[in-house]
Symmetry: C2
């Protein structure tokens, strides 16, 4: 390792996790459980060895998976290994990833680090395997810069909302974020167009304010959406870019949904500024509610489609009405006051909390053809190229799913007119959609 | 009585109550308790006789007052009689009032009538002594017309809000009321400018819809505000005008506040469309909450002062967010489902229900000089002429308060720069106010 990197950055557990997160998709709870049951290094060795799991490994993972609330079908370590190993051939070595990232002021945090954001523990088994970060290119000490960008305990607020924001929503997001940042509250958002961008910009505009954090759905090496590259550069310089996805990972729809749980868990509370009736921002709110974090929603005109999701939150969930930064700070304080309570497993606890609908794609504000797909189908669909064709073997690698299951999913997707086949290769069916 | 009036309209209890409501102010709970304890006719005889109350009368009234939650100081029958008798000299005989009212299609309902709106019983001791009504001038049978105007059980909604409504609020009130009326839900409101007027107009615009009801703070013989005379005429023709105040009574500020409890109690649920941070419409919502009726509030721009009161209701009370007529109907259905529950005394029960601030003057949307006055001072202030002077004896009659107490209140009002005296006569101090 280079001298600029402190000793603790070069641990084997960091290298193990950095590689594991390339093999195991976010939301693959068996992967997270396996790592916590066996330890990251042992899990990594088992995975890359290619061997069958030992009896005692299967038992430990099975017990941990049951404790985490996974169904019997989700608990099979052998199936997990088969799934995770589909990407082994593509695996970039952690040293290579970290070297490339270091040049753009980045690195990776792992739960074993003392500075790991403890609020992520509320996610239980859904806690990310690691957190990639990005600060200023050429930074002498990216780790020190990253530390400055992390929020003070309890002083962070997620400000999220629709990409198709109105002037009204953008103004509220900008003004509130600016005021929050000025009061040393770190504004966390998703770096997207619309409300996200307005919130980041508002926070950046505060003189001597708290830094702002953008949590991306793809790798931190690539700024997405491209139109926000300049904004994301400013956030990297003055605040922090985070992602659980390894460098080089593309932001798929299922990763957007998983990313939303990180925004919700990193922040002490979440405020939805504008959201349509079905909106990815609502999934962030639902994640926050599921781990017992306060959620706020900003009201608007009953004639504005961009406020319909907020009104829905206020009617159907315990979300509180927020009209300005003071109300938002109140939410953060509520959570800080409740701090010290036990973390809640995101998967198995609080099933009775009212939430809105099913998790939905963040990239889609309206009813999408992918609604109603199961997790495997959705991941295969995400992996399908929109304008060309690819082999089932390649799809298996990209989606991190063994070939037989990829083929089953492809057949189902074709039946739903979502996939098409030509000469043994697969692509998306032509539809009017944005994916 | 004339032949056009049915027999039941000429009962002595009706005559007794019609006169009692000229002597006892709304909100004078000892008066209501005295009538229910002794019976309306006996209470009327005692009052007009001028005699001291008998020991057994004092005891019965005292016990009933205690049961209704009145404080020791509020329970003294002798003081009540002194208060009520101050207006005896002015008393118009009920026959005269009813004859005059009959010509404009009016009459009076009493709790002893079979058609008395039973939902008013939820007000407990604060139930009105009687309800004056007005329909079409020259109506052959005003009582029959009145019956058609009363809402079907559980099918009524109060739609209320700020006089200084925006186009946004007026549009929502109009559209919702029109749709509600079309679904046979009677829209109840206060006949004021702004939201009230828009709601009445919307209901009237529905073809074959339910009638709309305007509850006035003054007598039904006089349309207030004058600018709404044409609208109120239409309501009298197609719907119903109601008031607990006898004909000839002027709409004072305290009567506006008391009127709001009738709107809340007549309707199965109350929706506030627009309201400033301090608004009379909030007092209607508080009355509704205090008797266990669902309350809805319409959200709006966080930058609109006319929505601030609605947002306050949504934050601080169990009020539900309402975006359209369907949401409003939902509130009404909720209440209908809960029907059959016991009525709740407005005075003594449910003290823990969150409500907003203190009851305020309906005629005033901002902080008023009369805030902080006690009930006597407020009634004397209301009785003070704004542009001329009058004697304390006259004030005693108008306010329904004995002369010594009038003088005490006048002294306090002068100290607060609210009253002034010239040559032994009293008037309001000159201030920039709308009263």
């Amino acid at each position: 390792m280079r001298a600029a990197e402190p000793e603790w950055a070069a641990t084997t557990v960091r290298r193990a996790r950095a590689e594991l997160c390339r093999l195991i998709e976010p939301g693959d709870l068996l992967g997270a459980v396996t790592i916590s049951a066996l330890g990251a290094e042992a899990a990594h060795r088992l995975l890359v060895s290619g061997r069958e799991p030992a009896e005692h490994e299967q038992q430990r993972v099975g017990e941990a998976a049951e404790a985490a609330g996974l169904s019997r079908g989700q608990r099979r370590l052998a199936e997990g290994l088969q799934r995770w190993r589909t990407r082994l051939l593509q695996l970039t070595r952690s040293e290579q990833m970290l070297n490339a990232l270091h040049r753009i002021g980045g690195g990776v945090l792992v739960p074993e680090d003392a500075c790991w954001p403890e609020q992520l523990q509320d996610l239980g088994a859904a806690q990310p395997l690691c957190l990639w970060f990005r600060t200023v290119p050429g930074a002498q000490d990216p780790y020190a810069r990253m530390l400055r960008g992390l929020p003070q305990p309890g002083r962070s607020l997620a400000v999220v909302g629709a990409r198709e924001a109105t002037d009204y929503g953008s103004r509220i997001a900008w003004e509130s974020a600016r005021e929050l940042a000025g009061h040393a509250v770190t504004v966390v958002s998703g770096g997207a167009y619309g409300i996200d961008a307005a919130a980041h910009r508002g926070a950046l505009s505060a003189t001597e304010g708290a830094p702002t954090i953008a949590v991306l759905a793809g790798g931190v090496d690539r700024f997405y959406p491209a139109g926000n590259a300049s904004l994301l550069n400013s956030i990297a310089e003055q605040g922090l870019i985070l992602s659980e996805m390894a460098p080089g990972s593309s932001p798929t729809k299922s990763r957007f949904l998983q990313r939303n749980r990180l925004i919700a868990a990193l922040a002490a509370a979440t405020v939805v500024v504008e959201a349509r009736w079905r909106s990815g921002a609502l999934s962030t709110a639902n994640h926050a509610l599921s781990i017992g974090r306060p959620v706020g929603a900003v009201p608007g005109s009953v004639y504005s489609a961009s406020s319909a999701g907020c009104h829905r939150l206020l009617r159907e969930t315990p979300a509180q009405l927020v009209t300005d930064a003071a109300d938002a700070v109140q939410l953060v304080l509520e959570q800080s006051t409740a701090a010290g309570t036990q973390g809640i497993s995101a998967q198995s606890e609080q099933p009775s909390l009212p939430m809105i609908g099913q998790p939905e794609t963040c990239a889609a504000e309206s009813v999408q053809p992918v609604d109603g797909l199961n997790d495997l189908e959705r991941r295969v669909y995400d992996a399908l190229p929109a304008r060309r064709f690819t082999t089932s073997g390649k799809l298996s690698e990209v989606a991190g799913i063994p070939v037989p299951q990829v083929l089953t999913s492809l057949t189902r997707l074709r039946r739903k007119s979502l996939a098409r086949e030509e000469n043994g290769e697969w692509g998306r069916a032509r539809r009017n959609m944005d994916g």
